[in-house]
């Protein structure tokens, strides 16, 4: 029996080997054909960090992709690296009275379909995003819009909204042409004003291709074509750029950044992005309502060691909720440095001492035992949680880390069955301090997880809302920052980082710290 089968087996194996050789040969020639076809062409292949699910310019993920990463659309308002606002498609804006704003638009902007951008199209585009995206709607608070002339748009808000120009920097509010929709009014593709034009989006492979906009109002565009591929796995991105499949990508594994930087022809640049790693402290729990315990915890955490050894320097120790480079940040604040003696002093003062010699502090027969919840979608979080638990244990606080699904975390927080929650939060959805401070620290704010309530903070934020003078406004917000730095209702650990990985022949890239992940700038070009 066996002998009969042997020739058949050999035949099958040969067939298999042939097939695999053939197919690999095919792909090989296919690949070289592409490069031969456009020798020395100016095409950049980009490995995007999320799956490309949507190309809708008005929804959260799609909007960021289309505006910042594909550079198809542009917003009315831009932002400088220090997060102060600068003109975009609008040249200037003015608050006529409490609720009325007037935006002057550029008069030399054409959409990719060749039509001119006027106030009418801008109004339609904003109305579309207000209808599509409730989050943007709640930030804009627009009651009505009026086209004054071709290049002037008047906006009336339903209530005093000093952050309106800041919200118009948000990528979802980018201006799209009416030709983005078909006759039935359904969204088909993004037709914007940016340096790159939409060419194709393959729903199957999720590859987005854009080409140079020859008539961009901003001047010469560096690349002829850009191909964006969604690659959610950091390992895949690293391998793809190493074997030459990609020219540009972001956020390979933090631990690999140094190894990849040393490779021939690839460089890695590390930047800070407007996002922080922070711990929400449940102020409803007895040991944590004591400010001394929270300060002691902040003193026990070694922020420098964490950013160096866990984030591999993709990120930096943080003091307050804002990057020091932001124009409104309180620059006097310094990150808490590790000081176990001070932590010991504070805890002893608060009555927490280790009486039974097990290394964990206790008070009135209760041991200082806390849980720390976190999730694994952002790779820095679980090891950071474990490292902080170990550091807190050295100060006599027993912390048990729990890595849970988002649903389970919501559930636990809803029930109040949590002590500490480590997460990464965006701090510049809108380039204005009010958004973050009022969401995080005002009584009943939507992101006020700790349940923090301080009348002084509330009144400072309310006062600042009424101020139009930026200096005075920032002054009030600096005071808020100083108070929450002292009281630590949220322990801010580190600024989030972004590692830009690109081939050496990609030139002219400038990192934009105001982008959500990263922004592709029109000046980028390839020089082989």
């Amino acid at each position: 029996m066996k002998e009969k089968n042997t020739p058949l087996c050999i035949f099958l194996i040969t067939l298999l080997v042939c097939a695999s050789l053939l197919s690999s040969g095919c792909t090989g020639t296919e690949g070289s054909e592409v490069t031969e076809e456009n020798p020395g062409s100016n095409t950049l292949v980009l490995g995007e960090m999320w799956e490309i699910d949507s190309i809708n310019a008005a929804d959260g993920d799609g909007g960021t992709l289309i505006c910042e990463k594909a550079a198809i659309t542009e917003t009315l308002v831009g932002a400088k690296p220090d997060f102060s606002l600068k003109p975009g498609l609008a040249t200037s804006w003015e608050q006529l009275d409490e609720n009325i704003w007037e935006f002057k638009l550029r008069n030399d902007v054409f959409f990719h379909d060749g039509s001119k951008m006027t106030a009418e199209e801008v109004k339609d585009s904003l109305e579309n995003v207000i209808a599509e995206n409730p989050r943007v709607d709640s930030m804009l608070k627009i009651a009505s819009m009026e086209v004054v002339d071709d290049y002037t748009l008047r906006i009336e808000t339903s209530e005093l909204n000093p952050i309106l120009p800041g919200v118009l920097h948000y990528p979802d509010t980018a201006v799209i042409s009416p030709s983005s929709f078909n006759e039935a009014g359904e969204y088909v593709k993004p037709v914007g004003t940016g340096p790159y034009k939409f060419e194709s989006f393959d729903e199957q492979t999720r590859v987005l291709t854009v080409v140079k906009n020859e008539n961009w109002w901003g001047g010469e565009v560096g690349l002829d074509r850009m191909v964006l591929k969604g690659m959610p796995d950091p390992n895949t991105r690293a391998m793809a750029i190493e074997n030459g499949e990609l020219d540009f990508t972001v956020d390979v594994l933090y631990s690999e950044t140094d190894r990849i930087n040393k490779l021939e022809g690839i460089n890695v640049e590390k930047y800070k992005t407007p996002r922080v790693y922070k711990i929400d402290v449940n102020l409803g729990n007895e040991p944590l309502e004591d400010v001394r315990v929270r300060q002691a915890m902040s003193c026990a955490i070694d922020r420098y060691e964490i950013t160096e050894h866990i984030l591999y320097k993709v990120g930096e120790p943080a003091a307050g909720p804002f990057l020091p480079s932001m124009v409104w940040a309180n620059k006097d604040l310094q990150p808490y440095t590790r000081d176990l003696e001070k932590a010991d002093e504070l805890l002893t003062e608060a009555g927490w001492v280790d009486t039974d010699g097990d290394g964990i502090r206790d008070k009135d027969g209760k041991t200082l035992r806390l849980n720390l919840l976190t999730y694994s979608a952002r790779p820095g979080l679980p090891p950071m949680a474990q490292a902080m638990a170990a550091q807190l244990k050295e100060a006599g606080i027993d912390v048990e880390t729990e890595v849970l699904e988002m649903g389970a975390i919501y559930d636990r927080r809803e029930k109040g069955n949590w002590d500490l929650y480590l997460a990464a939060y965006n701090i510049a959805m809108v380039p204005d301090p009010e958004y973050v401070l009022s969401n995080w620290y005002m009584t009943g704010g939507p992101d006020n997880g700790p349940g923090y309530s301080n009348p002084e903070v509330d009144s400072l934020i309310m006062d600042a809302r009424k101020l139009t003078d930026l200096e005075e406004r920032y002054q009030k917000f600096n005071e808020v920052e100083a108070i929450v730095y002292e009281e630590q209702p949220m322990i801010i650990v580190a600024y989030y980082g972004c590692a830009i990985v690109k081939k050496d022949y990609v030139k002219g890239y400038v990192f934009d710290p105001t982008a959500h992940d990263y922004r592709i700038n029109a000046d980028m070009y390839i020089e082989k």
Binding site: N235, L253, S255, E256, R259, E305, I306, E308, H309, I310, S376, P379, P382, P383, A385, Q386, A387, A389, A390, Q391, E400, T401, E402, V403, A408
Partner: protein, 301 residues
């Protein structure tokens, strides 16, 4: 005589003499070199697991960020992981956890499986119908996915993990036991016990279980390896045990991020898993060969 080791053990009265009950089995175990080797490795492994806290040179959870991702060296025999924890200590403590969960799961499933199988096979009729359908339902789910769902609902933790894996495993034992009981029920020694008026429980306990147990023990031995693999799979997927319990699968999963900068973090836990699973496979295989020499093999998987 069959083997020098066996001779020595017999003289010391550790092993049954030839001709005694079980003597033949032991004799054949000692004839097989692979089983002997596996047995020795198992004893070594069980010893390591039992004395892990004494043997491990460091606290398995002590974090030392400055010494992260170190390769094997004198200070750390197997190197350190991404938080600077000693890998050897973690693997040793992990052995204890894997082994105790595996034994727990197999014992629970064995017990439940035997009880259900006996009931179904011995009483027949409606009892058989209902128990068999329940077994069918449990067998129709893919094991790991079913366990994932259960752990997802119950939450993580050693006990929940054991429960989930037991729920997945018991049905196989029950089906095997039912088949055994069905053939045994018609044997003369059982029929004579029935006619002499013995109670059902007595017959099951004294006549049926001892005669039906052999293939279940084979299954259980091989299953120990499988369960260890399942625990590792669940931990690898991230919903097995809490983060501070060192477990091989979880170590593998955390280490894969450092595959290219510090590969020892995946290699050593991986080797540990392979080692143990192979031991139980060899043992299970060997026992089956001895107990059922006519069996051509392979169906157990």
């Amino acid at each position: 005589m069959d083997n020098v080791f066996a001779d020595r053990f017999r003289r010391e009265d550790f092993l049954p003499q030839p001709g005694e009950y079980g003597g033949d089995f032991v004799k054949r175990v000692f004839q097989r070199k692979d089983m002997l080797f596996a047995l020795a490795a198992l004893v070594l492994f069980a010893g390591v697991a039992l004395f892990a806290p004494l043997l491990s040179p460091y606290d398995p959870n002590a974090i030392d960020l400055k010494n992260k991702n170190l390769g094997p060296s004198e200070g750390h025999l197997l190197g350190t992981d991404y938080l600077g924890r000693d890998l050897l200590s973690r693997i040793l403590i992990g052995a204890r956890i894997s082994l105790s969960i595996a034994f727990g799961v197999v014992l629970i499933s064995l017990f439940v499986g035997i009880a259900a199988g006996c009931a179904a096979g011995y009483y027949g009729g409606l009892v058989d119908e209902s128990v068999s359908r329940v077994i069918d339902i449990f067998l129709s789910f893919p094991g790991v996915i079913f366990a994932l769902t259960i752990v997802g609902v119950l939450g993580s933790g050693v006990f929940n993990l054991m429960l989930a894996l037991s729920i997945v495993q018991w049905a196989r034992y029950a089906r095997l036991m039912r088949g055994q009981v069905l053939t045994l029920k018609k044997q003369e020694f059982v029929l004579s016990a029935v006619t002499s008026g013995a109670g059902d429980f007595h017959i099951i306990r004294r006549h049926i279980v001892p005669n039906a147990i052999a293939p279940l023990l084979v299954l259980a031995t091989i299953d120990l390896g499988h369960v260890i693999l399942s625990i590792a799979t669940l931990s690898f997927l991230g919903i097995g045990l809490p983060a501070d319990i060192p477990e091989w699968g979880a170590m593998l999963s955390a280490g894969k991020e450092f595959m290219r900068t510090a590969p020892h973090q995946t290699i050593f836990p991986g080797l540990a898993i392979t080692f143990v699973v192979v031991i139980f496979s060899i043992l299970g295989d060997g026992i089956r060969d001895i107990l059922d020499p006519h069996h051509e093999g392979g169906e157990m998987y």
